[in-house]
């Protein structure tokens, strides 16, 4: 996937010890830990058609066999079919003797120009019609469904019978004395005992009469292939391989297992399969991390706990020249920290393997871009000053912006960095957890101090340019 930023430079370490860029992580606000795609359980929320954006619940989708009822795919190339209208003179529905110009509809693929007319389906008077049922061979498919329903009914009855047998065995195991007439009569349970006995008695069930024919081996050799299977003779001028265009391709045949069309005249519109909207759940605490709106046309989320919106993001802003100091192998980096929250947040960066010399104190990041615009003070909105009382020192802070802070850091042993995994850092920040309103108090904001481990890998080329 192409991005503007180089996502491999700064990685955050997930709770499962895998390093990923921040945009791929979620923050579980109940466990207070970062979760990656593997620590998260996807669930199907609802199904929707990618063409008409009609959404349905999972139960409804099951009935519709996970297909849209209104949209169709081209059997020839797989693109979506669009409805076209032409006018044709037909006998008018009111007065069959008169010929009136009427609108008739057919489906057309804009990509490969396949139409329902090629599939032998006549033009229809209404635009939304079950096109697939009008295709050739629809009657054959319906025959199959009748047979299938009789068979399912028969097997359902067999299953009932087997279940009753199991019940009978269970009851037979119990002590018969409990249901002996001597005791039960006293409490009026004789009828109950009788009912249970009759239920367990298999003689009440007549086995279902369904004719399932015995398998028979045919002794006669199979008939010769029908003449129609042989391809038509090559027309003299045809540049195409002989008759190949009358045959469906393998992909076309397999795309429609119900019909399995062998000839291109048998191709029928395929009901469009639906896609699903998924919600993500933390595997540890079972809370939802990402829950989209039901309506596929709405890009908003009901719950959106992406790490980008909750954890300050660190980026490698620039790589400066080596400034002598501790030898040539040293260069100055500018790290950019961005505040995702709309309130000032305190952050602190610490290097875990002492390769990077960082200012060792807490910095306050202003509110992020959108919220900063609401502030009255223009200077505060521009974020040029530190929101906290401590002024910024020029050897620590390179610049500030609305919700952004550029920190200066010195990297030692830059050449060895290319071989190693990277510099490990620890970012500790304030996380504002909005606790749901309880009965006693209103909505309260809980401020927690969280830490995240980072992996900084400056790109190799920047090291070379830094030397120059």
């Amino acid at each position: 996937m192409a991005t503007y930023l180089n996502l491999d430079v700064v990685h955050y370490i997930c709770s499962c010890k895998v390093s990923k860029p921040l945009c791929r992580l979620y923050l579980c606000k109940h466990c207070f830990e970062l979760r990656c795609q593997d620590c998260v359980l996807p669930e199907v929320d609802c199904q929707y058609c990618p063409n008409c954006l009609d959404y349905m619940s999972s139960g409804e989708a099951k009935v519709k066999k996970n297909r849209c009822s209104a949209c169709y795919d081209c059997p020839s190339c797989g693109h979506t079919l669009s409805t076209r209208a032409t006018s044709a003179t037909l006998p008018s529905p009111d007065d069959p003797t008169k010929q009136v110009a009427q609108k008739v509809y057919y489906l057309l693929c804009a990509f490969c120009r396949w139409t329902t007319r090629d599939g032998g389906i006549p033009d229809q008077r209404a635009p939304s019609v079950p096109w697939r049922n009008l295709a050739q061979g629809a009657e054959l498919r319906q025959d199959n469904s009748k047979r299938l329903t009789t068979l399912t009914e028969a097997f359902r009855q067999l299953a009932l019978k087997e279940k009753a047998e199991k019940e009978r065995k269970k009851i037979a195991v119990r002590k018969k004395s409990f249901f002996s007439p001597g005791l039960t009569d006293r409490y009026g349970l004789a009828s109950v005992a009788l009912r249970k006995k009759s239920l367990a008695n298999p003689s009440h069930f007549t086995p279902p009469t369904v004719d399932i024919p015995e398998a028979q081996a045919t002794e006669d050799p199979p008939d010769d292939l029908d003449e129609a299977y042989w391809l038509p003779p090559v027309p003299e001028q045809s540049p195409l391989a002989p008759g190949l265009h009358t045959r469906s391709s393998l992909l076309q045949r397999l795309a429609d297992p119900e019909i399995q069309p062998e000839r291109s005249s048998q191709l029928a519109p395929i009901s469009k399969p639906v896609l699903c909207k998924r919600s993500l759940r933390c595997r540890q605490c079972d809370h939802n991390l990402s829950k989209p709106e039901l309506n596929p046309a709405a890009p908003k989320f009901k719950i959106n706990l992406c790490a980008l919106y909750n954890v300050p993001e660190m980026r490698l802003y620039s790589v400066g020249d080596g400034e002598g100091g501790e030898g040539d192998d040293c260069c100055q980096l500018t790290l950019l920290l961005t505040n995702p929250a709309s309130k000032p947040t305190g952050v602190r960066l610490r290097c875990l393997d002492s390769r990077l010399a960082l200012p060792d104190r807490e910095f306050s990041l202003g509110p992020c871009g959108d919220a900063a615009l609401d502030l009255d003070d223009p200077l505060a909105a521009a974020g040029a000053q530190s929101p906290s009382s401590e002024p910024d020192r020029p050897d620590e802070v390179a610049f500030r912006g609305p919700g952004r802070l550029g920190l200066l850091a010195r990297l030692r042993c830059a050449r060895q960095l290319a071989a190693s995994e990277g510099v490990r850092l620890e970012l500790s920040y304030e996380f504002r957890n909005i606790v749901l309103p309880s009965a006693a108090a209103g909505e309260s904001v809980e401020v927690r101090r969280l830490t995240a481990e980072l992996l900084l890998r400056p790109p190799a080329s920047s090291g070379a340019s830094a030397k120059a």
Partner: protein
């Protein structure tokens, strides 16, 4: 030799054709009735004259090129039928094109191919074989798949009428009748 050909530019535009002045016409070209040629279209009759039929639509940056062939230096007339659509950026070097064809955007047809009637050459597809395309053939997809459909693409009469009304409002149109470069030069020298 090319410069002398250019000086022999002679364009015969039938009445009813809308040919924008900003298109590039080189060589001996005949344009039929109701044909619409957009600005920035290029019709290059290098290796011989081009005869374009009626009701064609040649869009911007389309190139119709009667390209000289090293193996066969004889002059060949390029004949294009009627009701064809050459969409934006399409390139046609085929010597014989029939009727009701659609060359979609950025398609390419080589000199060896003969385009019959009702064919649709899909976007970015190229047809280069020495063959006669069957009627109502559709070429589509990245691999230039072929299939034959049952009917030709619909005629774009509505679009042609609309363009014939709108284009003169925004572009200079070449006048109908026979014109050649020599006559145009003579016009310029005439005292105003």
């Amino acid at each position: 030799p090319k410069i002398s050909e250019m000086s022999r530019t002679s364009v015969k535009i039938a009445p009813g054709a809308v040919v924008c002045s900003e298109c590039e016409l080189r060589g001996d070209i005949t344009i039929g009735q109701r044909t619409v040629i957009h600005p920035k279209a290029r019709i290059l009759a290098e290796a011989g004259p081009i005869i374009i039929g009626d009701g064609n639509l040649i869009e911007e940056v389309a190139v119709i090129h009667n390209r000289p062939d090293e193996s066969n230096p004889n002059e060949k007339v390029m004949i294009i039928g009627s009701q064809n659509i050459f969409e934006v950026g399409s390139r046609c070097e085929a010597v014989k094109v029939g009727d009701f064809n659609v060359l979609e955007a950025r398609s390419f047809v080589s000199r060896d191919t003969v385009v019959s009637n009702g064919c649709t050459i899909g976007a970015m597809c190229s047809v280069t074989g020495r063959e006669v395309l069957p009627d109502n053939c559709v070429v589509y997809g990245a691999a230039s798949h072929r299939k034959v459909v049952s009917e030709k693409p619909p005629a774009q009469t509505l679009q042609l009428d609309f363009l014939a009304k709108i284009l003169p409002n925004f572009h200079h149109i070449k006048k109908a009748g026979a014109s050649s470069a020599a006559a145009a030069a003579a016009k310029q020298h005439r005292p105003s």
